[in-house]
């Protein structure tokens, strides 16, 4: 079957309208999870169906789409989603963060600061920040309505009592505009500060769990913490071995059978850009030199 057998950006117009209405309500109530009638997509639940539906509802033919997974454009699922939209929407794609108008992501926020002309769409597995404390949806919904977040603070405090620190390193809960506690999707807590005051619109889609939520630009987002145990974004205590960046989130890569390691930027576009600009890390080679 040819791509022409499907509508622009795959979804039918009625489905897009339903998703668009949910996105608008999500934008109007930042951090609040809006139910939507998620459709079965031609990729499995848990593989970005929520993000894909939000992206499909937002795309215009003029968009330039970037898709990343773990910060990288070339991970297989990112490649697969990017090619899905290139085929079904015929839009331009890019790997350069600065050139993209819409970025779909799993598990990272790009290092390059986002702008007012961009939308960042997150793939979300479990949208409910209270879910692992209270498995029942009617209960967690009531907690949000009453702004009853004591359970979350108890959990974080128990961490401190047991470990001396909050033992959550990713998927770290945040409070939006002083009202809703929100799950930022499983980004490392290193990325949490980028959520707040971001010039770009941030949209979150959870397909299997049928929820959409949003952070409008310049929304205040605070990572939960305590006065005596303030939030700390963490990363490996190294510089990137390829580009030398000291302020980017790093992947740890095992490079030989003896278990030697190197640390490289998780954001592949960011690292490539720095190397092209002449930055060289401990194990890198200068740009232009033969590898």
């Amino acid at each position: 079957m040819t791509e022409q057998a499907y509508n622009f950006a795959y979804l039918d117009e009625q489905t897009k309208r339903m998703i668009r209405r949910a996105i608008l309500k999500g934008v109007a109530v930042p951090g609040c999870q809006v139910p939507f009638a998620s459709r079965e997509m031609p990729m499995p639940y848990g593989w970005g169906t929520g993000g894909v539906q939000v992206t499909a509802a937002c795309l215009t033919p003029e968009d330039r789409l970037k898709v990343i997974d773990q910060g990288a454009d070339d991970t297989t699922n990112a490649v697969s989603i990017r090619s899905f939209f290139r085929r079904t929407a015929g839009i331009a794609v890019t790997e350069a963060t600065a050139e993209a108008t819409l970025i779909q992501t799993r598990h990272r926020i790009p290092e390059h600061p986002l702008t007012e002309d961009q939308i960042l769409v997150y793939q979300v597995p479990i949208p409910e920040p209270l879910r692992f404390l209270e498995p029942r949806e009617p209960e967690t919904r009531k907690m949000h309505s009453l702004e009853e977040y004591g359970l979350m603070h108890v959990k974080l405090y128990e961490d401190i009592a047991r470990h001396g620190a909050i033992a959550t390193s990713y998927d770290y809960p945040v409070k939006v505009e002083g009202r809703y506690v929100m799950d930022p999707s499983p980004i490392p807590k290193f990325d949490n500060p980028k959520l707040s005051g971001c010039p770009a619109l941030q949209l979150f889609g959870a397909g299997r769990e049928q929820r959409i939520y949003a952070l409008p630009p310049y929304t205040s987002v605070v990572s939960l913490d305590f006065d005596d145990h303030p939030f700390e974004p963490g990363k490996a205590d190294h510089d990137c071995d390829l580009c030398g960046a000291g302020d980017s989130y790093l992947d740890e890569v095992i490079i030989d059978d003896a278990g030697s390691r190197m640390f490289v930027c998780s954001d592949t576009d960011f690292c490539r850009g720095r190397r092209a600009a002449g930055h060289v890390g401990r194990l890198g080679t200068p740009a232009g030199a033969a590898a």
Partner: protein, 193 residues
């Protein structure tokens, strides 16, 4: 009352719905995400007196699952027929509306509209207010989507202040004029001066 299937009723829709509605939605989304910014939104050619912007919003967002309330002179045969033909949205009183369209004077009292429930704040109406003028001047707006502050022509600042006081409940608003649209979600604070 049967609506005659006139050229006016049948015409004025999107020529290329997937693409035109995508562009219109992005304008509406950016308007709602950045209160105070005015965007061009077009594609629909509704019968008078509905504006191009309001007509385009309806074609983009309304369908058989979203009851629509038409207020004042918008509630005329030509527009009832046009909206029914193009969107299949049921036409309803204010209390049952998912979308409501009209001039502000015809939409008041605004407390008739759904403001959502504590468990489901999203189940709130969206008002599409037809404005005689729409400019980035007037009351000062702050809140999510606004970096420092914005200004926007508002029909009745006090009503929007009262609506914001209900947050996270409350209705959300598009202001339309000709082919231009601005958004005013319930999260926006309308400052006092």
């Amino acid at each position: 009352m049967a609506n005659p299937l006139t050229a006016e009723t049948l015409g004025g829709g999107f020529d290329d719905a997937p693409v035109q509605s995508a562009r219109a939605f992005r304008a509406a989304l950016d308007a709602m995400a950045r209160p105070g910014r005015i965007h061009v939104i077009a594609g629909a050619r509704p019968p008078a007196p509905l504006s191009v912007a309001a007509g385009t919003l309806l074609l983009t967002l309304a369908d058989g699952t979203t009851p629509v309330h038409l207020a004042g002179d918008i509630d005329c045969d030509a527009l009832r027929g046009w909206i029914t033909f193009h969107t299949a949205a049921p036409l309803v009183p204010a209390e049952a509306a998912v979308f409501a369209v009209g001039r502000w004077a015809d939409l008041t009292p605004a407390r008739r509209f759904a403001i959502g429930t504590p468990e489901y704040p999203d189940r709130a109406a969206t008002l599409i207010v037809e404005m005689p003028v729409l400019q980035a001047e007037g009351p000062v707006l702050t809140g999510p989507g606004i970096r420092d502050r914005a200004r926007l022509t508002l029909p009745d600042p006090e009503a929007f202040r009262a609506n914001h006081a209900l947050f996270p409940l409350g209705f959300d608003t598009f202001l339309t004029c000709g082919n231009r649209v601005a958004g005013l979600p319930r999260s926006t604070r309308v400052e006092d001066f």
